[in-house]
């Protein structure tokens, strides 16, 4: 048991434990707080696996962005100071079915990968120094990083088959959505002001 395993157990326990805490808590803001800890522990797992870009992304998008938005939404829509959610028994059954089936699929997928089974793993403690941003960029440019066994992959696949074009289209699309949202919000406010004046 090396330090890598110990940290993996620590982070995975934190992720699972706080995920359970999210489920069993009834106060929404506490739920959000537990979700932060759970997602933060997941980011820790990513860092541990050497995927520091994905880990930082997880922190930035899920922990920083999504959850702040969530808490904002809760605070803005709250009627009473502390909202607690009541779950009906039907919700429990539905959630159990969805969550259970997803869990089963994930467990099956995890055990079907031969490299992850016990005994076959190479006991390399950490690959933290691997340059993941470079690989992500190369993946966008069309270099299949997972299939880089031959030096001629770049020539075979070519640059055009990469994800760069979809990525750029998505970026421009997001920008358009942002501008549109800003425009809509602005127009609405003007109308409200006019209504208030008349």
């Amino acid at each position: 048991m090396n330090w890598h395993t110990i940290y993996f157990l620590l982070f995975s326990l934190a992720a699972c434990g706080f995920a359970l805490a999210v489920v069993f808590s009834s106060n929404i803001v506490r739920m959000a707080f537990y979700l932060v800890l759970s997602l933060g522990a997941t980011a820790g797992l990513f860092f541990l696996a050497g995927a520091d870009f994905i880990g930082a992304m997880q922190l930035l998008i899920y922990v920083g962005g999504t959850l702040v938005l969530l808490v904002f939404g809760v605070m803005l829509t709250a009627q009473s100071p502390f909202i607690s959610m009541k779950t009906h028994s039907g919700d429990w059954i539905l959630a159990a079915i969805v969550g259970g089936s997803l869990f089963a699929v994930l467990v099956q997928a995890a055990f079907s990968i031969s490299q992850w089974q016990a005994g076959s793993s190479s006991n390399d403690p950490a690959i933290v120094a691997a340059p993941t941003t470079t690989t992500v960029g190369e993946g966008l440019l069309g270099l299949r990083v997972d299939a880089l066994s031959k030096a001629s992959t770049l020539q075979q696949t070519g640059v055009l088959s990469g994800y760069l074009l979809p990525f750029e289209i998505v970026s421009v699309h997001l920008l358009v959505v942002l501008i549109g949202a800003a425009y809509l919000a602005r127009a609405k406010r003007r109308k409200l002001v006019q209504m208030a004046e008349t």
Partner: protein, 411 residues
């Protein structure tokens, strides 16, 4: 350090690693802690000088250093209050959340060449990601206090921090664009040499963008003139209205920790990090190499000087923030938002495009002609290193990766 203990003093490896880890963790924690104490004292003194406040100029000791102890004692002996309606768990946790996220950024901040707790390929990205998380502690504090003052303060501050992350990110990306890396150590290493190699002097656009960065950084750590969220007298102290004593101190420490971090990030991205204005250590050939299995004393001294350089730059920029705080009047919330969305974001975006064009047209930066003219003045080991690096920048990294894999296959 552990290797040093093992190879030079012949200690057991577990003891060496334990001791090295202990010393380094403590050093990393002590820098912001002592820094926060020192900055509080500087803040008191500067505010006293600027605004003619009598208290801090008359506290005892040489230069009034007893003010530190007085502040600390006052804060620790205050009663620990909590509103009756508050969400007890979150109310207690919120200061620590803020504090932890503020100090976690130091993990990725290099103090000198290779002197970093966790060298990450995406150091810059990690620092902004974790700095942005600090707002969560603020929201928790405001929400859990069950007080309208706190809630409004938290909303204002969260809105401010979240919106200032946009121009801040744009400003931070620019030096990464020039350096072609997200690694803080690589970015600082690329600025080695005379102070003209610093990215603030790289081209006119970076010179402008540093000031945008500084404005946004000041705003994102809630310093004046953007400290509306915690304005003292006008708005009943914002999100930490209900906090007292040590919990309030934790928020304050988090603020000073973040100030140190953004100042350090600015120093690395725009002011050459640990590289001094004159490359004394490089001219003397004391370059530090982190991958050597044992310490070379000269390299160690060079890095110690670099560390002092870096901390000096941090202290300078924090002092500028303090100076700005006690000089400028506070902005209204609409003015704060206007500064962010109408001025900082477009300027940062335009400068980003400008830097991209400039880097394409003049890859060597603003001083490429002058450096060719006065090459003999600047001769030294570091110039060769930078030239070598400049040669390898343009090489596509995909090709390098393929070559690496091909060579591994041959082996």
């Amino acid at each position: 350090m552990a290797d040093f203990f093992i190879h030079h003093w012949g200690w057991w490896s577990w003891l060496s690693y334990l001791l090295a880890g202990f010393i380094q963790c403590n050093l990393l924690l002590l820098v912001p802690f002592i820094g926060a104490m020192f900055f509080v004292w500087v803040e008191r003194k500067v505010s006293a000088r600027i605004q003619d406040r009598l208290g801090p100029t008359r506290t005892g000791g040489k230069f009034g250093w007893l003010q530190l102890l007085a502040d600390g004692l006052k804060l620790i002996t205050k009663e620990d209050l909590m509103p009756g309606e508050a969400d007890r768990l979150l109310f207690k946790l919120a200061p620590y959340v803020s504090f932890v996220f503020s100090y976690a950024t130091l993990m990725a901040l290099p103090f000198a060449d290779g002197w970093v707790a966790l060298r990450m390929n995406v150091g810059v990205f990690f620092v902004i990601a974790v700095l942005g998380l600090e707002v969560f502690g603020v929201i928790l504090a405001g929400y859990a206090s069950a007080s309208k003052w706190s809630l409004f303060g938290a909303m204002r501050e969260a809105a401010q921090v979240v919106s200032y992350e946009v121009p801040l990110g744009l400003c931070i990306v620019t030096p990464c664009l020039i350096a072609g890396s997200l690694d803080l150590i690589t970015i600082a290493q690329k600025q080695q040499g005379w102070f003209t190699n610093w990215y603030i002097f790289h081209d006119p656009f970076t010179f402008i963008i540093f000031w945008v960065y500084f404005t946004c950084a000041t705003a994102s750590v809630n310093r004046a003139p953007f400290d509306l969220a915690e304005a003292e007298s006008e708005l009943v102290a914002g999100f930490h209205t209900e906090y007292s004593g040590f919990r309030w101190l934790a928020f304050y420490m988090a603020e000073y920790g973040s100030m140190f971090t953004v100042a350090g990030l600015g120093a690395i991205l725009f002011f050459g990090g640990w590289n001094g204005p004159i490359p004394v250590t490089h001219l003397l050939g004391w370059a530090y190499t982190a991958d050597e299995s044992h310490w070379r004393t000269l390299g160690y001294i060079a890095n110690l000087l670099g560390c002092m350089n870096f901390i000096g730059k941090c202290i300078f920029w924090v002092t500028v923030m303090i100076w700005v705080r006690w000089t400028l009047p506070r902005l209204r919330i609409d003015q704060v938002m206007k500064t962010c969305l109408k001025y900082c974001t477009p300027i940062a975006a335009a400068m980003f495009v400008g830097v991209a064009v400039w880097r394409y047209e003049f890859p060597g930066g603003l001083w490429v002609k002058q450096s060719a003219a006065s090459a003999e003045v600047r001769e030294g080991a570091f110039m060769d290193a930078t030239k070598k690096e400049a040669g390898t920048i343009n090489q596509p990294s995909a090709q390098k990766l393929i070559e690496k894999i091909a060579s591994e296959e041959v082996q």
